[in-house]
């Protein structure tokens, strides 16, 4: 069953065709990776799915509902949550606070109730704090939950980004280069983490450079080059696809780990 | 409505002349503030005060001591540049380094403006000042009046603007400034002495403002409290044109000057400025980066 459907999506920046008539789908429960050389349009694609960029043409359906061009927070409300490529954080806030804020969509008591600190809002706050602490523990951040984000090492920040995204209770999690800059051990742990998330019933769409990791983790892969989809299939199929090798892999065999 | 075509023609040419004359000096003001903004990311609220300082330098050297006009302009540029360098060194540099929030520099600039205002009042007194015309006479062109003194100011301002553009585009320090404006860190990595060139940029921006003040006092009057109004005009211009861009400063100066020239002719009163400001706000909603809003260069 398809959870996300991208059809004929295009985006132009001035004279540059960043994404060109791209179509693919993400099935519920799978881990799908989008690969491609730098500047292939992966990030642009990502931003359009998350609602951070409006496409010039084409459609995006999530859960059979159209989300094309809707603002980020609406897309997030519907269950599509992204993490950021850069280490984008609320610098001064603690890790716990990050995840508490990310529970925003779960808060149901009104703004007025929160303002006057009503009993209901207090109970809800307590519940959110607990949930946030649980998520942090699950991702191995429990011991740094009170540390300001600006003082955390990069690896932790990426986990923190995922923790925030999880707190928003996504159906589809968009991960932007989750393994970039990690050493093999860290990558192993991260792969386990992503698999664990997928096991919990969250569909994962990720964009990544690290081919080793992509090949190990993905159920399916979409390969893009110069804004176009050039191949789609299982890791095995992609590894053997001539146009992928031609566009990307042929030049840098070692990256594939063949 | 019953107006002779020749009359309308002369109105049009007068409006064009007025707009051009205004825009030349406006451009100098806008270039100075946009340079400082591009290099330091500081919205220099004290820009108008530097203009006033430049004006008073020319008042004393040319108006009271009767030095040659060119020399007194030079003195104005140098003195104001020196003040700019002092402010950069002792005020902005340290706050930029230590502050937790980027707003700090802007607020420091507001404080500096206040300080310079009070200093100017203490040093130069409360009276309006002006100097005799450098050149006299009036030219007529297609029904428009062009006073010689305005033409002179226009010419000097145009030459200075051109010189500035040449400097920024074709000289080594100019290229360094552009590199810093584009990306401080990259510029530093490429071996540009960021600290030194930032100071240079600040001094140069200040000098431009001082020159504008020095030029304008030769046709207009100035008093020690006139700075804030000039600063606001400078802000409006670089918002129209796009902050931190040379072409934007010039575009902003042209647009503001012609809006004033046209607005004041057809609707005398305070409405033109209300319309200019409302227009600016609406315009920025559609084009927040201004007309030429690109990166510096």
């Amino acid at each position: 069953m398809s959870l996300l459907q991208v059809s004929s999506l295009s985006k132009r920046f001035g004279g540059l065709q960043a994404v060109d008539n791209m179509s693919f789908e993400v099935r519920a429960g799978e881990i799908l990776s989008v690969i491609g050389p730098n500047g292939a349009g992966k990030s642009t694609l990502f931003k359009m799915i998350a609602g951070a960029l409006k496409p010039n043409s084409g459609e995006i359906y999530f859960d059979s509902r159209r989300i094309t061009g809707q603002p980020q927070h609406i897309v997030a409300q519907k269950g599509v949550v992204r993490t950021f490529q850069e280490t984008t954080i609320f610098r001064e806030m603690s890790a716990l606070e990050h995840v508490v804020i990310a529970h925003h969509l779960q808060a149901t008591s009104g703004a007025w109730g929160a303002f006057v600190n009503s009993g209901r809002s207090r109970r809800e706050e307590e519940a959110i704090r607990q949930s946030a602490a649980e998520i942090l523990n699950y991702l191995g951040l429990g011991h740094v939950q009170n540390e300001a984000a600006k003082n955390l090492p990069h690896g932790y920040l990426r986990a923190l980004g995922i923790a925030m995204a999880l707190a928003a209770k996504p159906k589809l999690l968009l991960l932007d280069e989750p393994f970039a800059g990690m050493n093999p051990e860290e990558t192993d742990r991260a792969i386990e983490m992503v698999r664990g998330i997928c096991m919990r019933g969250v569909t994962v769409l990720l964009v990544e450079h690290d081919m080793r990791a992509v090949m190990r983790i993905s159920h399916r892969i979409v390969a893009v080059s110069f804004g176009r989809k050039i191949a789609e299939g299982s890791p095995q199929e992609i590894q053997n696809n001539p146009s992928v090798i031609e566009a990307y892999l042929g030049r840098e065999d070692d990256e594939l780990g063949i | 409505m019953g107006l002779a075509p020749t009359y309308l023609g002369s109105v049009m040419s007068q409006i064009i002349v007025n707009g051009l004359m205004l825009s030349a000096t406006y451009a100098l003001i806008a270039l100075g503030i946009t340079l400082i903004f591009a290099i330091m990311n500081v919205m220099n609220f004290a820009h108008g005060q530097m203009y006033v300082l430049g004006g008073f330098m020319v008042y004393y050297t040319y108006g009271v001591w009767h030095w040659p006009f060119a020399l007194s302009l030079l003195v104005a540029a140098l003195v104001v540049a020196a003040v700019g360098l002092i402010l950069e060194r002792f005020f902005f540099r340290s706050v930029l380094r230590r502050s937790r929030r980027e707003e700090s520099t802007m607020l420091l600039a507001v404080g500096t403006a206040l300080l310079l205002d009070s200093l100017a009042l203490a040093l130069f007194g409360e009276k309006q000042r002006g100097v005799p015309d450098v050149v006299s006479g009036v030219y007529h062109l297609a029904g428009a009046y062009i006073p010689a003194r305005r033409l002179l100011i226009f010419a000097i301002a145009a030459v200075l603007t051109t010189a500035f553009i040449v400097f920024i585009n074709y000289t080594r320090p100019g290229r360094a400034l552009r590199a810093i404006a584009q990306d401080r860190e990259t510029a530093a990595l490429q071996g540009v002495d960021v600290t030194r060139y930032s100071a240079l940029g600040f001094g140069l921006g200040a000098a431009l403002s001082g020159l504008a003040g020095g030029l304008l006092i030769s046709t207009d009057a100035i008093n020690s409290g006139a700075g804030n109004l000039i600063s606001i005009k400078a802000f409006i211009m670089i918002m129209i044109g796009g902050a931190g861009v040379v072409s934007g400063a010039i575009a902003g100066a042209l647009v503001l000057a012609f809006s004033e020239a046209i607005g004041y002719y057809f609707i005398p009163g305070s409405l033109p400025y209300l319309l200019i400001l409302t227009g600016l706000i609406v315009f920025l909603l559609f084009r927040p980066q201004g007309i030429m809003g690109r990166r510096w260069g």
């Binding site: - | 009359y7 109105v11 007068q14 409006i15 002349v17 007025n18 707009g19 004359m21 205004l22 108006g63 205002d117 009070s118 009042l121 007194g125 409360e126 009276k127 309006q128 000042r129 002006g130 100097v131 005799p132 015309d133 009036v138 009046y145 006073p147 305005r150 304008l216 046709t219 207009d220 009057a221 100035i222 008093n223 020690s224 409290g225 006139a226 804030n228 109004l229 000039i230 606001i232 005009k233 004033e260 020239a261 046209i262 607005g263 004041y264 002719y265 057809f266 005398p268 009163g269 305070s270 400025y273």
Partner: protein, 389 residues
Amino acid sequence: MKATAVLGVGLFFIGVALAQQPVLKIGVNGVMSGPAASWGLVNKYSAETTAAMINAEGGWKIGDKKYKVEIVALDDKNDPKISAANAEKLVSMGVKYIIGPNVDTTAGAVMPVMEKAKAINFPYAFSKELYTPPHGNSILGMIASYQAGPVIYKYLKEKKGVKNIAFLARNEADPLNQMKEGEDAAKMLGLNIVTSGATYEPGTTDFAPVLQGILAKNPDLLVLSGVAPGDAPLLIKSAREMGYKGLLSTETAQDAKILQQVAGSLADGFISVGGASTPSIQTPYMLDFVKAYTKRVGEWNDEAGTKVYALEMILRTLQLAGPAAINDVELFKKTLTKFNIPNPFVKGNPPLKFVGSAYFSQPRQLGVPMVVNEFKDGKFQTLFVGSVE
């Protein structure tokens, strides 16, 4: 030994005498910083100069005591909140008579303070409501332009054949009010107003765009309503350069030096109102004042010619009303109608009194003579001296 003892005792008594001399505090509350600083500062300098001259003579006699006159000057930054706080401060110090503030915005905020504290102030703001019943604790410090306007227009209509008149004002409360009053006066005289409501923004440096539309209507007289001394020469110069041949006038005081510096001979024939500004009409006392002012401040300012009156008239009215009036402004108010003295600053002219009944239905204006001047060869020359009722 003996001599020094005597000297010491003598000095002691002199000291006691000095210490015992009663002090009369007069306040100045006005704008003394920012772009309009000169308005309040000239008030302050004028009052301080007069006070110093009086104190040098041993003080000011009211009743049978000689008072040392002390000026307490406060800067209100042209901000109504600070102006009101300053007024409160002055009255809390026991000051009952305050010179200033300088614009409608601040004068409006100070008025309630004066009424509550039973004190009197002398604003240089022209809003009629300040001086008209039920209000009565503010006394206009100078000739209002709407009073000078008709006199000047009438003179120019009769002597120079003016028919078409145009107005231009700086876009601020005071000048705009003056323009409105001026237009009404011109209508009463049957003059033809060719432009109405033309203004320019504060901070304008190039007046060509503003003037262009006005001059196209060919006025015989261009009135610069409430024009600031810095703007006047620029407007005159621009108008002349654009080929304007008609007359130029204003109803506010101007500064000869800046006219000469900026406009030079182009300003010849410009008509303005001054206080006691031309040497031909100055009394020796005024000449002394000019000398003392110049020594104190470093440079004479023609604006002081109108602002010299406030303190002088306060003191002389107190002298007439008696010492009780120092703390009781009702006595001061009662004396206003009786006050009538020869003008100490201007030679051979109508006596000095409190006027304004015709405008405010009560005497709430200093009867500063209306000295109408014409600028010529870098100096003002008095055309005629009028007065206001």
